[in-house]
């Protein structure tokens, strides 16, 4: 008999655990774990510096001569502009509470994905250059030189963070890795070190109004397809309006909902709901993006992209703005928009024309989330709902990071969901609400070339879904986020086959009994309804 290989040796081939301290362990950039570098053209469109084509795997990143100076000046500048940054550089005690809270650490096992260590990557340079102790004691004080290796490490790990803020929930000082990643990415952006999946959509959004680069006629055309489908399902032809002056409400949603399944079903849901209400609203092709990939590059670009929403509301003379289902869109809207581009004093406090409810909590920003709007409708009995039409679905709810930890939108969507489906099961407690696990693809990391990274980062989320799938037969993962809708689908395909992904308003529209509709036989996806099936079997 041939001699068996020694497995414990085999297991360790090419895989030595970092015995050295993290500072002395240089970064190894691995395939499947990063996104392509940003293209020259995208960066030029946006007026970003140091635009060039470059490849992360190449040794030479074609950096400008004075890259170090640019970065250090950039840090100094941001220390003066952001108290958060200055404070988070100084007060971490490395207690380790955040270490195992990050989905990327849980999934990859890479110690540099512990939030504390990801922050130390930049903190170590801060100490070296900006603190007395670091200058005098150097490495003993946890300080290190900014080298090319360190720069590559920043790039690799700041694009392995989805800015989900889960770590900041557990930190005794509220240190928020998202804030550090945001600033880290700004610094990298000054060297032209963005990624294609972010810079591309951002430049499309700047020129064409949305991330996908849909031109005005394409938006209209795409919605036409959806209207055809709605007619097939309900027998009703809907005629939405675009760029219409004098409408009461401007509706803005992430453009992902206009193009790709299953987001399109959510968009169909909006169309049907608003039609049934007879809402006086308009879509805009100019402000056709709720999301904001600028937020993943620089604060300034985020503001530039965001400005379109208020500007368009002003041009059209609407009274207030209604926002669609999206995650980071709502972090940006609720914590940044009014500060950047407000005050929107030309608008009125949002007031539901159907129920008369005044949304006082949005009286400055003048914009409400569609889940709030619909929750209010249902609470006031303004919708005729038949949840049985969703009986073929057993649903669980995924809280999106940004709406959970950057807004606090937790109960509204649950209230809506429970009103439109009969079978609902929560995932385990440590994985929902403020402790929700990220999809692993947020903050512009939902490219295809980093699929391995996405599958690893999404594993804690998928694992919780798997649990309710096995124990309660859950077959649908609902959420209010366009990136979730796009990225949870492959995540489920890999980890929990048999679970679909949908937006909240797809389920609303399934259950919504519209006046004058024909008897529905299918749901929005064209799947036969359970009631229709039963009838068929009877006949």
């Amino acid at each position: 008999m041939a001699k068996l290989p020694k497995p414990e040796e085999l297991a360790k081939v090419d895989y030595t655990p970092p015995k050295t301290s993290w500072m002395d362990t240089p970064v190894v950039i691995k395939e499947g774990m990063f996104c392509h570098g940003a293209k020259t053209k995208s960066l030029q469109t946006l007026g970003f510096p140091n635009a060039r084509d470059w490849r992360p795997m190449d040794a030479d990143w074609k950096l400008p001569e004075n890259w170090k100076e640019i970065l250090l000046n950039g840090i100094a500048d941001r220390l003066k502009k952001y108290r958060s940054f200055q404070l988070f550089m100084d007060i971490c005690v490395r207690c380790g509470a955040c270490a195992d809270k990050c989905h990327f650490f849980i999934g990859t096992g890479d110690p540099k994905n512990m939030p504390v260590l990801r922050a130390e990557l930049i903190r170590s340079v801060y100490r070296k250059e900006f603190t007395l102790a670091g200058k005098i004691f150097g490495k003993m004080a946890g300080a290190r030189e900014l080298t090319l290796d360190v720069l590559k490490e920043w790039w690799y790990y700041f694009f392995q963070c989805t800015e989900c803020r889960r770590c900041s929930v557990f930190c005794p000082y509220g240190i928020d890795q998202a804030e550090i990643t945001i600033i880290g990415r700004e610094l990298l952006n000054e060297l032209g070190l963005n990624i294609d999946w972010i810079a591309g959509p951002a430049s499309a959004c700047y020129m064409k109004g949305n991330h996908l680069g849909l031109e005005p006629h394409t938006i209209v055309g795409n919605l036409e397809y959806m209207l055809d489908d709605i007619e097939t399902i309900t027998g009703k032809r809907i005629k939405p309006t675009f760029n219409r002056k004098g409408a009461e409400i401007l509706f803005v949603t992430p453009s992902g909902d206009l193009f790709a399944d299953p987001g399109t079903y959510t968009a169909m849901g909006y169309l049907m709901l608003f039609e049934e209400l007879g809402l006086d609203y308009t879509w805009s092709t100019y402000a056709s993006e709720g999301g904001n990939f600028g937020f993943f590059t620089t604060n300034e670009l985020a503001k530039r992209l965001n400005s379109k929403i208020y500007n368009e509301a002003k041009r059209l003379g609407v009274k207030w703005i209604l926002g669609g289902e999206c995650g980071h869109m709502w972090r940006v809207l609720s914590q940044y928009m009014d500060t950047w581009n407000g005050p929107a004093d030309f608008l009125e406090v949002p007031k539901s024309p159907i129920t008369g409810t005044v949304f006082d909590h949005a009286k400055s920003m003048k914009m409400i989330h569609v889940a709030e709007f619909t929750a209010d409708l249902i609470k006031n009995n303004k919708l005729k709902l038949d949840p049985k039409r969703n009986d073929h679905l057993t649903v669980t709810w995924h809280d999106s990071c940004n709406t959970a930890r950057g807004m606090g939108l937790l109960e509204e969507p649950r209230y809506v969901l429970k009103s439109v489906v009969n079978n609902f099961h929560e995932m385990p407690e440590d994985t929902i609400r403020e402790k929700t696990f990220c999809c692993g693809s947020g903050s512009g990391l939902n490219a295809s070339e980093d699929m391995d990274l996405r599958m690893k980062g999404g594993f804690p989320r998928a694992n919780a879904v798997k649990f309710v799938h096995e124990h309660h037969g859950v077959n649908m993962l609902a959420n209010v986020c366009a990136i979730d809708r796009a990225s949870l689908k492959p995540l489920m395909d890999y980890w929990v086959p048999g679970v679909g992904v949908c937006g909240l308003h797809e389920l609303v529209a399934n259950a919504l009994v519209m006046t004058g509709e024909k008897e529905r036989t299918t749901d929005l996806r064209g799947e036969p309804l359970p009631s229709a099936q039963a009838k068929e079997e009877k006949a």
Binding site: L4, P5, K6, P7, E8, L10, A11, K12, V13, D14, Y15, P17, P18, K19, K30, G32, A99, D100, K101, I106, G107, T108, G109, D110, P111, L212, L214, H217, T218, G221, N222, F259, A260, P428, D430, T431, S448, E449, M451, D452, M455, K456, F459, P460, N463, A464, F467, P490, D493, Y494, W495
Partner: protein, 172 residues
């Protein structure tokens, strides 16, 4: 007492060693985190490993039903297939059991008993069988990743095509 009973009697010791050996294929500080294996949702990797190994062990002793063992193998390999392992490293965890089982038995000289040699060979063959299933599962996982990548690329091209068609529509 035959081999299977001997192994069953040492189940918890063997499983612990097996789990630790697998955990040690990860970096130092990660393996200690994985070893907190009972936190099903906050430490899904450690939990899945521990559940999967136990399932495999039971199956080896109580008779292998391919469909059952494949579920356990799948749960572990699906994780290792996307982590930083080469294919051989990913699957090596299965063979670790051969040595660990012998170590545990060897102390009491059970191995000298008559007929034990044949039983051990059979046990080894079952492990080899697991390994063969694992190849398939590993390939499935990697293919799935490429399929997901390709799907996303195709979706994007599809959008472009659709867009092109739209322009034609509008010109009509």
């Amino acid at each position: 007492m035959d081999l299977k009973n001997q192994l069953m009697a040492r189940k918890s010791a063997i499983l612990k060693k097996w789990f630790d050996a697998v955990a040690e294929t990860y970096p130092d500080n990660t393996s200690s985190f994985l070893k907190k294996q009972k936190a099903q949702f906050t430490n899904p990797v450690g939990y899945t490993l521990s559940e999967g190994l136990e399932g495999l062990f039971d199956a080896l002793l109580k008779g292998m039903i391919p469909d059952t063992v494949k579920v356990f193998l799948d749960s572990i390999i699906r994780i290792r297939a996307i982590q930083d392992f080469t294919p051989s490293e990913s699957l090596s965890f299965i063979f670790l059991l051969k040595k660990i089982a012998r170590q545990e038995l060897g102390n009491e000289e059970v191995l000298q008993q008559p007929g034990m040699n044949d039983e051990l060979t059979a046990f080894d063959s079952s492990i080899d069988e697991l390994a063969l299933y694992s190849f398939d599962i590993y390939m499935n996982c990697r293919e799935k990743i490429y399929e997901l990548k390709a799907n996303e690329a195709r979706n994007m091209t599809f959008r472009l095509l659709q867009q092109a068609k739209l322009i034609v529509d509008n010109q009509d």
